[in-house]
């Protein structure tokens, strides 16, 4: 089922993969990163965030690391998430698919742009 749930890849799941592409993050970190990379348009609520994490985890696209403290956020121990190789590959495939889409959009004069 996870495969079906991720095909097509929901935008929340893709954003999480992208957020984790740079560094390992805990849940709140992912949420803030996603908000930042979407210009504040996407604020993942806990339900959406963790159900996406659960799905990605079950599909082995991300993995958990040992819980540790976040120095900026007090002494609470937090679980961190890391992109797996297949997760990275899926993120790249999705990005390429979107790039193809963009190219088509540009060729149809729907979108103007210099690159990609």
């Amino acid at each position: 089922m996870p495969k079906q749930k991720l095909n097509p890849l929901p935008s929340a799941a893709f954003q999480i993969l992208l957020a984790l592409a740079g560094e390992d993050l805990h849940g709140y970190g992912i949420m803030r990163q996603v908000a930042e990379q979407t210009g504040g348009r996407m604020r993942l609520g806990p339900g959406t965030l963790y159900s996406s994490i659960q799905t990605l985890f079950e599909a082995k696209l991300i993995e958990e690391t040992d819980a540790r403290e976040d120095a900026n956020l007090g002494t609470e121990r937090r679980r961190y998430y890391r992109l797996t190789a297949s997760g990275r590959k899926l993120a790249r495939t999705e990005a390429e698919r979107l790039a193809d889409l963009l190219r088509v959009a540009r060729s149809k004069k729907i979108l103007r742009g210099e690159y990609v």
Binding site: M1, P2, Q4, K5, H26, G27, Y28, M31, R43, L44, G45, P46, G47, T48, L49, Y50, S51, I53, Q54, T55, L73, E76, R78, R79
Partner: protein
């Protein structure tokens, strides 16, 4: 405080999700509430949380057992409903208790409502709408039977045979019968009442037999309506009964009724179709035209048990054969104890054998025509001067009563048994709309014998005995009479 609320809201998620991520979700909530202080940010936080909850809770449940869901989807054939199991945890004792209490409450509520809360409507009325029209069907204003579209006075035997016993007894008091059945559920307003009153008045003016009283009744109905006497009647049955009373106040005519029918009346009186005739013919053939028994009893007494007076065009040959086989009898017994009536033409046809000259047969339902005289003498017939006995019961009805009444009045027969049913209404049924109709006498023959006919009161027998003993009694009377000769 707000964290507690959110912790409580988290319980909406399936336990599997809560166990894996509940603590982290709470942590995230704490992080956000710490970082997003200030009224507007808090508001945004809660808006986020609630919309998130609304979106992700159902999704979590739907995907909680993906394996199971896909398995059942795989098993499910097209178009067959199936159930999904969402929860993966055993039911808690609290849930069981709550479910039990809820079930008992529902059960109690349901039974209380059944007994007290709702107005009782018989199931049969819901299942078979036509059944709430027995009055219309068995009414003498019957227009649904074959051949009676215009000739409304006739009691069509075709409808009788398909009619459950007992229903036919209702026409003696049509208005009461209808009102006693189901209370009208239609709520009438002033406009509708005025429309009904106007329609009824128009019918009275145009069709009522008494040219003086018709317009008077119409005026009375209109006056009552104008004065507001009808304003309280919002119930169809009551309104119909009220109008009937108002009409009868002007002239007490028991055959004049305005009736309400709970289920819609057919748009026009359905004309009998070829199919109806075929069916009628088939039934008559199967039942030997309701000539149930024809035999010669000891002492050469002819016995004929006839259960209706069927259509002459269908049953003439059968009737002739029956009478021919009794032609040499010295006395004749007509057993009409189970005869529910039928066609006046057949009444006349049968009676013709009992006279050696044309005899006038009075029928309150029809104006006098050529058909009112019997076609006597019947060639080859030897029964014209033989003693005649007619067996009667309370079931003897309508056309059969005409046979009894006229033979009694003409002193041509001795009636043995019980007083007959008393069905002699005459008139036509006028449809006003889907629910209202009016039965009014349109024709009136002059009774040559007395002021009253057998309507409502029946025909009194000459020899009153129990129905069961009627045949023995009649046979003994016949024997005694034959021996005297």
């Amino acid at each position: 405080m707000s964290e507690k609320i959110y912790a409580w809201l988290l319980r909406l998620y399936p336990s599997r999700f809560r166990e894996a991520y509940g603590e982290e979700a709470l942590q995230l909530f704490r992080d956000r509430s710490r970082d997003e202080a200030g009224f507007l940010l808090r508001l945004r936080l809660w808006a986020d949380l609630l919309s998130d909850l609304a979106l992700s809770v159902p999704r979590e449940y739907f995907h909680v057992q993906p394996g199971l869901a896909s398995f059942s989807a795989h098993l499910r054939p097209e178009g067959v409903p199936s159930f999904f199991v969402f929860a993966d945890e055993p039911l808690g004792s609290g849930a069981l208790l709550f479910g039990g209490v809820l079930s008992i409450a529902a059960l109690v509520t349901f039974s209380v409502l059944l007994n007290h809360g709702v107005r009782h409507v018989p199931l049969s009325a819901l299942l078979r709408p036509t059944q709430s029209l027995p009055h219309a069907r068995s009414s003498p204003f019957d227009s649904s039977a074959p051949k009676t579209a215009n000739n409304t006075g006739e009691m069509a035997s075709a409808s009788k045979e398909s009619q459950p016993p007992g229903l036919a007894a209702t026409p003696s008091q049509p208005a009461k019968g209808a009102a006693g059945r189901i209370r009208g559920s239609v709520k009438l307003n002033a406009v509708e009442r005025r429309r009904i009153v106007e329609a009824a008045a128009a019918i009275l003016e145009k069709h009522y037999v008494d040219r003086d009283n018709g317009p008077k009744m119409a005026a009375a109905l209109r006056a009552h309506e104008k004065k507001g006497d009808d304003d309280k009647s919002t119930d169809g049955f009551r309104f119909a009964a009220l109008l009937t009373r108002q009409m009868r106040e002007v002239s007490p005519d028991r055959h004049l009724t305005l009736d309400y029918f709970d289920s819609p009346l057919p748009p026009h009186p359905p004309a009998p179709t070829a199919e109806d005739f075929a069916h009628y013919r088939e039934v008559m053939t199967r039942e030997n035209c309701t000539f149930e028994k024809i035999e010669i009893l000891p002492h050469n007494i002819g016995y004929l048990k006839l259960n209706s007076f069927p259509d002459v065009s269908v049953c003439q040959a059968t009737a002739e054969a029956a009478m021919a086989s009794l032609n040499h009898a010295d006395a004749i017994v007509f057993d009409l104890r189970d005869n529910r009536g039928g066609e006046p033409a057949m009444v006349s046809f049968m009676a013709a054998y009992l006279f050696d000259h044309p005899e006038y047969l009075y029928n309150p339902r029809e104006t006098t025509t050529e058909e009112s005289w019997t076609h006597s003498p019947v060639p080859g017939n030897r029964l014209a001067d033989k003693p005649v006995y007619v067996l009667t019961s309370v079931r003897t009805f309508s056309g059969a009563e005409q046979f009894c009444y006229d033979l009694k009045m003409l002193k041509r027969a001795t009636l043995v048994g019980e007083t007959t049913g008393g069905g002699a209404h005459s008139g036509a049924f006028h449809r006003i709309d889907d629910h209202f109709g009016m039965g009014i006498p349109e024709t009136k023959a002059i009774n040559p014998y007395s002021k009253t006919d057998w309507a409502e009161i029946g025909v009194e027998p000459d020899v009153k005995v129990n129905t069961a003993d009627a045949l023995d009694t009649a046979v003994k009377l016949a024997q005694a009479r034959l021996q005297k000769k």
